[in-house]
């Protein structure tokens, strides 16, 4: 099998006495959507921060295209083709939607004209075509999530890290944005996504890792993970799998 685009090898991250991420290993295969799920406080966002260079791990290695990139600055990783979105969206509030996307587009297009054209194209592709001239802080939550995605996409990444892009959206909005993410994957962008909206993550991902209390407790195809005892217990509490099993038998 080909080498994975991203591989996290036994990464540990401690904050004082708290071990937020404990010897976690995971991989994201090129061209696939990989899901990362787990209860609140499991360490998912910390792991993302490590992969995108915002947080230095206490131990372990992050490999991207076979090369160790642990501890590189975020901008260096962005240049190598890793882009991330933030769970709490981070628009440039005082700028228009177009100017927001332009910042990302400038990474691959030093000239303003080309960067503007690229930014417009990305904006239209994500359904922001009518809002390019609006100030970013006038967008709705769904609009801001799309903008967050557009900014990251404008850097023309090979690996896209999505931190809960569906959180806070209503079912209609989720239904609208899922095909967008699927489209990105179809264009060959490798995606690693943290998501709480199970239906979406189960249908989008080819492979899922489950993180609980800083450790990977299960990995595999969506269906297999959903049926995993350890996963059910992590979400619903100790003994839940057994009780559920008993309920099914009745």
């Amino acid at each position: 099998m080909a080498e994975p685009l991203l591989s996290v090898e036994r990464v540990t991250c401690r904050f004082g006495g708290l071990v937020a991420v404990n010897a976690v290993s995971l991989t994201a295969d090129e061209g696939c959507v990989t899901g990362l799920i787990g209860p609140n406080g499991a360490g998912k966002t910390t792991l993302f921060s490590i992969v995108s260079g915002f947080q230095r791990p206490s131990d372990g290695v992050v490999r991207y295209r076979g090369e160790a990139v642990t501890g590189l600055a975020p901008y260096e990783l962005a240049r190598r083709g890793i882009a991330r979105t933030f769970q709490i969206v981070q628009p440039f509030a005082g700028l228009t939607v177009r100017e927001n996307i332009l910042v990302g587009a400038h990474l691959r297009h030093p000239k303003r004209g080309e960067a503007l054209a690229a930014a417009d194209a990305v904006g239209r592709q994500l359904g922001l075509g009518d809002m390019l001239d609006r100030p970013a802080d006038t967008l709705t939550v769904a609009g801001r999530k799309r903008l967050e995605l557009a900014k990251a996409l404008a850097t023309e990444p090979k690996l896209l890290l999505l931190d809960e892009v569906l959180a806070g959206l209503n079912p209609t909005e989720i239904r609208d944005i899922v095909p967008v993410i699927r489209g990105l994957s179809a264009r060959g962008i490798t995606i690693l996504m943290i998501e709480h909206v199970m239906q979406a993550v189960m249908s989008l991902s080819q492979r899922i890792f489950v993180l609980s209390e800083g450790r990977i407790i299960a990995e595999g195809a969506p269906a297999a993970v959903a049926a995993d005892r350890a996963v059910v217990e992590a979400y619903l509490g100790h003994g839940a799998a057994k009780r559920l099993g008993a309920a099914h038998v009745e």
């Binding site: 995108s52 915002f54 600055a73 975020p74 901008y75 962005a78 240049r79 882009a83 991330r84 933030f86 981070q90 628009p91 440039f92 509030a93 005082g94 700028l95 100017e99 332009l102 910042v103 990302g104 400038h106 990474l107 030093p110 000239k111 303003r112 960067a115 900014k151 990251a152 404008a154 850097t155």
Partner: protein, 326 residues
């Protein structure tokens, strides 16, 4: 192109002023106003576009002034060469302070306080070091020749400072329309988000600080050349740090014309107050304070913001009328 045309028009109008105004007092007022506008444009590059509020731009102004003066007086260097060296010296001080503060990750008020401290330290050093003339200051010899960058006519000095202001306007315009500018503004708006999009925030801020320092240093060089005298209180005094940040804030931070409009407004008001109330000490500071309170309360985007809003209202009004008729 529209931006450059606007700059050309404004500079052309200002350049024509000495053809109609011969009064030395009026020209002197305009020269000082443009000098402050230049220092303010320097501050605007870093503070307005980059969001890094420096309270110590005197460090660059003073370095420019002292380097120009000392090179001429003590080393016999040509005034024009001294002028260029002063700009380079100011830029170097900017790069040095920037490298220390930005690498240490100082932001917001911490950055402001550290820049203030650097300017004060330089002021104290300049007030005791023999090379600066210590407490006595440095006097540049009167030598009214263009080769010595001294001119008999105030009008020529006026055109020189206007040319410097024009260059600073063009620099601001080019920054606005470049990748560097887009990244600088992104850092101002949200540094972490900018980093995630591939922006080397430290380097962008350092670049902005160097350009910013060079422009403010040019104002210092001109000051030395115009008044032919520098001492530590003038060169590194807080007055210039205050005026350099006040003019863009009042005119409109992060806009090409903000510092120029701010300087005209502030200087005109403080001169007007002098006419009415006599030359009471500290009067200009009172005026600055009042204008600043007014701007922060009613026009957070400065006079440029007010003008833009008025223009939008005017542009909309005829359409409404048409709609009413139709």
């Amino acid at each position: 192109m529209k931006g450059l045309a606007a700059i050309a028009a404004v500079v052309a109008v200002l350049a024509a002023v000495p053809l109609f105004v011969q009064s030395n007092i009026a020209l002197n007022f305009l020269v000082v106003t443009l000098l402050v506008a230049l220092a303010g444009q320097g501050w605007n590059i870093l503070g307005g576009y980059g969001g890094q509020y420096s309270f110590g731009h005197a460090a660059f102004f003073g370095t420019g002034a002292y380097v120009t003066a000392i090179l001429q007086v003590r080393y016999g260097v040509n005034a024009w060469a001294g002028f260029a060296a002063g700009i380079a010296g100011g830029a170097a001080v900017g790069a040095f302070i920037g490298a220390l503060t930005f690498r240490a990750g100082l932001r917001g008020s911490y950055f402001a306080l550290v820049t203030l401290a650097f300017a004060e330290v330089l002021r104290i050093i300049a007030s005791v070091a023999p090379i600066t003339g210590a407490g006595v200051g440095t006097l540049i010899k009167l030598d009214l020749h263009p080769a010595a960058m001294q001119f008999e006519s105030r009008a020529v000095f006026y055109w020189v400072i206007l040319a410097l202001v024009a260059v600073s306007l063009v620099i601001a315009h080019l920054i606005e329309r470049s990748r560097f500018g887009a990244w600088l503004i992104a850092v101002r708006e949200n540094e972490d988000a900018a980093k995630a999009l591939g922006v080397n925030a430290t380097r962008v801020k350092l670049g902005a600080m160097t350009v910013s320092a060079a422009i403010t240093a040019a104002a210092g060089c001109f000051y030395a050349q115009y008044f032919l005298f520098v001492d530590s209180g003038i060169a590194y005094g807080t007055w210039i740090s205050v005026e350099a940040l006040l003019t863009p804030i009042i005119g409109g931070v992060g806009t090409v014309f903000g510092p120029l409009i701010g300087a005209l407004a502030v200087k005109a008001l403080s001169e007007g107050a002098k006419l009415v109330a006599g030359d009471a000490p500290g009067l200009s500071l009172v005026v600055y304070g009042c204008v600043l309170v007014f701007v922060i309360a009613f026009a957070p985007r400065g006079f440029v913001g007010l003008l833009a809003a008025a223009y939008r209202r005017l542009a909309r009004a005829p359409k409404k009328r048409e709609a009413a008729h139709g």
